[in-house]
């Protein structure tokens, strides 16, 4: 499980990121200002840091200096959107630059991209006896390889990332197939097949008037 440090002074946003990333399967630690962030960095080893630039005390750029020698990849999150600021951020050594407001999907995707790029990826999602290897695009169930179509893979990924939460049908469709859902049959069919292939008939729950949910542990 990857450990991610979130440094953000706005409680609302830090909470949001924490919730989203935790659901996606990462272990998150939150710091509300530069000084406490620096302490945390010293004490712990993180696989990724999400830094807000405008922080009380040490700002994001200073924290970058701290993190670089440790080789920890950094993504800047900030409201400063001008090209100049982006260039500054990236040229100082950040791995990516995310501008507020952002969509949580985008955040998760960038986090994964950076982890993959820096070799800390090999992100695997695990639920019950199934392991999803995102880098290799491989699914193993109880040690055995399972053959899944790309759509099935994407669908399984969505379910595993949002464990415990009931995902709406049209959102699932949008995320896997793209575009608007015209009928539910395709989705339902794929869910059926997943249940069969993974033998997760009781793990993938149907939620009345909402969609589907992967049971929590």
């Amino acid at each position: 499980m990857n450990r991610i440090l979130i440094v953000e002074d706005e409680q609302t946003i830090s909470r949001l990121i924490q919730v989203s990333l935790t659901r996606a399967g990462y272990e998150c630690t939150v710091a509300n200002d530069g000084v406490s962030a620096a302490d945390l960095i010293e004490a712990n080893d993180f696989d990724l840091a999400l830094l807000d630039i405008m922080l009380p005390g040490l700002d994001g750029y200073d924290l970058l200096e701290y993190l670089r020698p440790m080789g920890t990849p950094v993504i800047f999150i900030t409201a400063k959107s001008s090209v100049k600021d982006r260039v500054k951020g990236l040229s100082l050594g950040a791995d990516d630059y995310l501008v507020k407001p952002f969509e949580v999907e985008e955040l998760i995707a960038r986090v994964e991209a950076v982890l993959r790029r820096t070799g800390r990826g090999g992100q695997t999602l695990t639920a019950f006896d199934v392991t999803l290897d995102l880098a290799e695009r491989r699914v193993t169930c109880g040690g055995r390889d399972v053959d899944l179509t790309p759509r099935e893979f994407a669908l399984l990924e969505q379910l595993m990332r949002n464990r415990g939460a009931a995902l709406y049908r049209d959102v699932l469709y949008e995320r896997v197939w793209g575009g608007e859902m015209t009928d539910t049959r395709t989705l339902d069919l794929h869910i059926q097949r997943l249940r069969k292939k993974l033998n997760w008939h009781d793990k993938i729950e149907t939620v009345y008037r909402v969609g589907y949910r992967l049971k929590k542990e």
Binding site: D9, E10, Q11, T12, I13, R15, L16, V19, S20, N32, M54, P56, A79, K80, S81, K100, P101, F102, E103, V104, E105, N162, G164, A165, A166, L167, Y168, V171, R175, V207, V210, G211, R213
Partner: protein, 475 residues
């Protein structure tokens, strides 16, 4: 063409012209004098000749001998024949009456002189023969004889030519000397201009702090002074513009940030709720966050609009009862006071009136009271006013956490918050004090803050005093 060159050329042309004119006048004057003195001599010689001839005629008459042509011819010839003394003279003797009128008895005048060119009796004229000029005199003698004599003027001309030659050489020397001197001096005088030019160019290129600083007592010095004051003005203007731009950028940056942050929260949580049905705990949290952030936005936009409104419109000031405004503000601040552990307000009525806008004044006091409540929950807030001369000092004092000295100057900046997390939690936008300052300015007054961390803060607003209206007046 360079200015020093223009100067030198002008000086040279002027010098040459006046020198040449002056020299001409001088040489001409000398020439005329010489001619005059020659004329005196010539006149004498002519008169001598006339006298001699008349004597001869009278002698003949006296002797009773006839006055014959041959006699006179021989006589004149003898007199006139050059004998080596002095310049040559020519003569002619004519009958002027009788049968032989106009005939010459004797003449050694040049053949190309026609009779009508010769002067009349008692007159002189100047005639040319070949390259030389002669002055011709004419006198009528006894017995209807006319004598002409001519004198060579070459001497005057040759003397003049020599003088002219010397003068031209002198003139050449003067021209060269004047050119050299003019070049040297003009360059020296022009140097301040070159300095001025160089400095001006540097300033124009962007080095606004530079000054030309040419201190001469003349127009160039004045030009330098003017230019320097212009550069100073430009520098100030540029600095002011840059500051203004910077301020605007800062404002926009802070504003964008203040706007984007709640938006991120709202969008993020809304997206969450849209895509899944999390457990009730999470749902409530999401909804609550959305609500909170939206409130924050609302607060921000209200204050921002107020601020912008103040910038745009001219304020109409009229006499307002300060007590009334304070009372209204306290009433409006009740929710905020209650939220902050029931903080209390003590406002003494002073009976003072000020020039202002009732709503804005109420907002001002409301904002200050709200800030004070947030700073010191449960503590007492005092609102006082006193008149000093023509200004009224309105003071709101709290016993709250205070403002650190190093941040005191910045608290009135838009979006600036001393303790961001606390302020956000309380729904603050960072615009409160900025708005109050702006309202104070619009009223023609100022807003000052004194604070001691841990002890409390006092905000003082100066307003224009207004005469109290008669009993039963409006508002």
């Amino acid at each position: 063409m360079r200015f020093s060159e223009k100067l030198v050329c002008t000086i040279l042309l002027v010098v040459v012209t006046f020198f040449a004119l002056g020299g001409s006048a001088l040489l001409y004057g000398d020439f005329r004098d010489r001619l005059s003195s020659m004329a005196a001599q010539e006149q004498t010689r002519h008169s001598m000749l006339c006298y001699t001839l008349e004597n001869r005629i009278l002698t003949l008459h006296r002797q009773g001998d006839p006055v014959t042509e041959e006699d006179l011819q021989g006589y004149v010839n003898e007199l006139v024949t050059p004998d080596g003394n002095g310049p040559a003279q020519l003569a002619a003797l004519f009958h002027t009456a009788g049968d032989a009128a106009g005939e010459a008895v004797y003449s050694c005048l040049p053949a190309d002189w026609a009779a009508d060119m010769l002067p009349g009796n008692g007159q002189e004229t100047i005639l040319r023969s070949g390259d030389t000029l002669w002055r011709v005199y004419c006198s009528a003698l006894l017995d209807d004889w006319t004598l002409y004599t001519a004198y060579d003027l070459t001497e005057a001309f040759s003397a003049r030519a020599r003088s002219l030659q010397r003068f031209l050489l002198l003139e050449a020397a003067v021209v060269i000397g004047a050119a050299a001197a003019a070049a040297i001096f003009s360059r020296k005088l022009i140097r301040p201009l070159a300095l001025l030019n160089r400095a001006s160019r540097q300033i124009a290129a962007g080095n606004y702090a530079l000054r030309t600083d040419v201190r001469t007592d003349d127009e160039i010095g004045q030009l330098s002074e003017s230019f320097d004051s212009m550069a100073a003005a430009v520098q100030d203007k540029v600095a002011a513009l840059e500051l203004s731009v910077q301020q605007r950028e800062d404002f926009m940056g802070a504003f964008t940030h203040e706007l984007k942050t709640p938006m991120t929260g709202i969008l993020g949580y809304a997206d969450l709720l849209r895509s899944m049905q999390p457990d009730p705990q999470e749902q409530r949290e999401a909804a609550g966050a959305i609500y909170h952030e939206a409130h924050r936005l609302e607060n921000l936009s209200v204050k921002l609009l107020q601020l912008l409104h103040l910038d745009e419109e001219e304020l109409q000031l009229e006499p307002i009862s300060l007590d009334r405004a304070v009372t209204q503000a306290v009433k409006a601040a009740r929710p905020a006071l209650d939220q902050n552990e029931h903080a209390r307000v003590e406002a003494l009525s002073t009976g003072l009136w000020v020039q202002g806008d009732a709503d804005l004044l109420c907002d001002l006091v409301l904002n200050l009271i709200t800030n004070a409540a947030k700073a010191g929950p449960g503590k007492t807030i005092t609102v006082t006013a006193q008149q000093v001369g023509r200004t009224v000092l309105l003071r709101v004092r709290d016993q709250g956490c205070g403002i650190p000295a190093d941040q005191l100057a910045r608290v009135t900046e838009p979006f600036y918050m001393v303790d961001k997390s606390r302020a956000r939690k309380q729904g603050g936008s960072g615009l409160g004090l900025a708005l109050c300052t702006r309202i104070a300015q619009a009223h023609g007054g100022t807003l000052t803050i004194e604070s001691e961390p841990g002890k409390g803060t006092a905000v003082t607003v100066t307003l224009q005093a207004a005469p109290q209206p008669e009993q039963g007046g409006a508002r």
